[in-house]
């Protein structure tokens, strides 16, 4: 297998994180316990080269072909669930790359320029990574069975339909691809392919984990998926391997994925059902409103409906009945517990009494004050992205676990 993909800084403000990694490096590191990867082809600028070489050694990436780029490229996130700002977006590459292998894993790259590619492989797994680029997928220079692995919004854009199921069908026909794999975050993925003259669509659920670091989970999915295809698995089995590879990464952030995760399909896949999350939390200060807004958008992106008092009812005096009616209509609650707002604590108690699963997030809340919550049925987290994912999964049918799960 040959991997083509980026080397990027990934900086997160809260919680503090700073790695030189990117899609290409991450996928090559993920498969470093296998003997499958012949080479990583990536773009690195002169100023990053020494650091890149050390990182590649630490991650046991042995064979690297470097295409020079003009400047360093990085992604900066406020939190792991915030959209990133991108530095070095004007970085340019030049020259040509040639790939001749059994399975090629090709990630879209931030760098522009005149880099040309010629790929000849039995399977070409293409992860476009271009959420802002709505240009159709080009098959120029690609010879082999093309499998497009795209996230939900990319599939919707490339398939020109707001319904991702329809969009995936459109994309399959318009691109001439062998298959489309749509990554659906907390809901798993959807595989769309032709079987004879029939179109087939199969869903594979996510594998819920106790801890979720979502940055790079899509890269890990693609790496596991491509590896499994390379090993002769069919599309659906390969997607299952991709899903459990992503889950292992999210749970551990270990860059090299153990062989058993890549080779045995034995995880508990969540069969997602439509779910609705009640977003409980104070919205008095700018910081609180920023958090509510960020979590609201993230939960929607994870594939659940969100009922948020701030968005549905807003501030005011006579809000209790409307808020509690909203709460009663939900399958799970995500409670923002910092500052121990009395309204939020009341909502948590109401949900617990009604046996609605509750996931709580508190970055600065004292554990002492959370004893009644954790001691009843509330699952508690210090980690924001984990709390969002676990609340979404709880609404989809996952069993929550009382007490502190992320400290």
């Amino acid at each position: 297998m040959i991997i083509v993909g980026g080397t990027y800084d990934e900086v997160v403000v809260q919680p503090d994180s700073n790695d030189l990694i990117g899609s290409g490096v991450r996928a090559a590191a993920a498969l470093s316990n296998t003997s499958t990867v012949e080479k990583l082809i990536t773009a690195v600028d002169k100023g990053t080269l020494d650091e890149f070489n050390l990182v590649a050694s630490a991650l046991r990436i042995k064979d690297v072909e470097i295409v020079r780029r003009t400047e360093r490229v990085g992604f900066r996130y406020m939190t792991p669930i915030s959209p990133p700002s991108i530095n070095g977006i004007g970085s340019l590459t030049d020259g040509s790359i040639s790939v001749d292998t059994q399975t090629a894993l090709i990630f879209g790259m931030v760098e522009g320029g005149k880099l040309t590619r010629k790929v000849n492989a039995e399977y070409i797994v293409l992860d476009p990574q271009k959420p802002r680029d709505t240009e159709p997928i080009s098959r120029r220079g690609l010879k082999g069975k093309l499998v497009i692995v795209a996230n939900q919004s990319e599939t919707q854009q490339l398939g020109d339909d707001a319904n991702e199921v329809v969009a995936a069908q459109n994309l399959l026909y318009s691109s001439g691809a062998h298959a489309i794999v749509t990554k659906r975050g907390a809901s798993g993925c959807l595989i769309t392919f032709s079987e004879g003259s029939h179109l087939r669509q199969e869903a594979v659920g996510a594998v819920p984990s106790d801890r979720v670091w979502p940055i790079g989970s899509g890269d890990m999915f693609s790496a596991g998926f491509a590896y499994a295809l390379d090993q002769g698995r069919d599309l659906v089995e390969a997607a299952m391997v991709g899903s459990q590879t992503a889950s292992y990464w999210c749970a551990t952030r270990r860059p090299d994925i153990p062989l058993h995760v890549l080779s045995q399909v034995d995880s508990q896949f969540l069969t997602p059902r439509p779910g609705r999350v009640y977003l409980a939390g104070p919205f008095f200060s700018a910081a609180e409103r920023w958090l509510v807004e960020t979590v609201y958008e993230e939960l929607k992106a994870l594939g659940v409906e969100v009922w948020s008092p701030y968005h549905e009812v807003g501030p005011g005096e006579d809000i209790a009945r409307a808020d509690l009616d909203g709460l009663d209509s939900c399958d799970a609650v995500l409670a923002l517990l910092d500052h121990s707002d009395s309204g939020t604590i009341f909502e948590v108690g109401w949900a617990v009494a009604k046996r609605i699963p509750v996931v709580g997030f508190g970055n600065a809340v004292e554990k002492e004050g959370m004893k009644m919550l954790g001691g009843s049925s509330v699952e508690l987290h210090r980690d924001l992205s984990t709390a969002c994912y676990r609340a979404a999964w709880a609404a989809m049918g996952m069993q929550t676990r009382p007490g502190w799960l992320t400290n």
Partner: protein, 108 residues
């Protein structure tokens, strides 16, 4: 809030752009962990942080007086520079999950 809860993490100043560059503190998951070495460590253990040049150049966390547990990939260039200048670092094991070892690296 009294600030007495040790699980409430407060900024160390690391990664914020201020202070001496070798006053490094960060959390990371070790790359390429050795399963045999991982079996010998527990949450709360302190590991040595060392710069190596063979078989490859890098920075590793190792059991004190024992085997290498895994490699550190974060801030690797800075960490090597600071180790070369005589700074001494340790890695405290925060958790071990599914064969993965998460540590906090800090200057002794």
């Amino acid at each position: 809030m009294s600030g007495s809860d040790p699980s409430v993490r407060r900024s160390t100043g690391a990664g914020m752009g201020g202070g001496e560059e070798c006053a490094i503190t960060f959390e990371t998951t070790l790359a390429s962990p050795d399963p045999d070495a991982v079996d010998t460590v527990r949450a709360g253990d302190l590991l040595d942080v060392e710069s190596i040049d063979s078989p490859v150049s890098g920075v590793v966390a190792k059991v004190i007086g024992g085997p290498i547990v895994g490699a550190i990939a974060r801030d690797i260039l800075l960490l090597r520079r600071c180790l070369d200048r005589g700074n001494d670092y340790e890695a405290e094991v925060l958790r071990i999950s599914g064969g993965a070892v998460t540590v906090v690296v800090r200057r002794r």
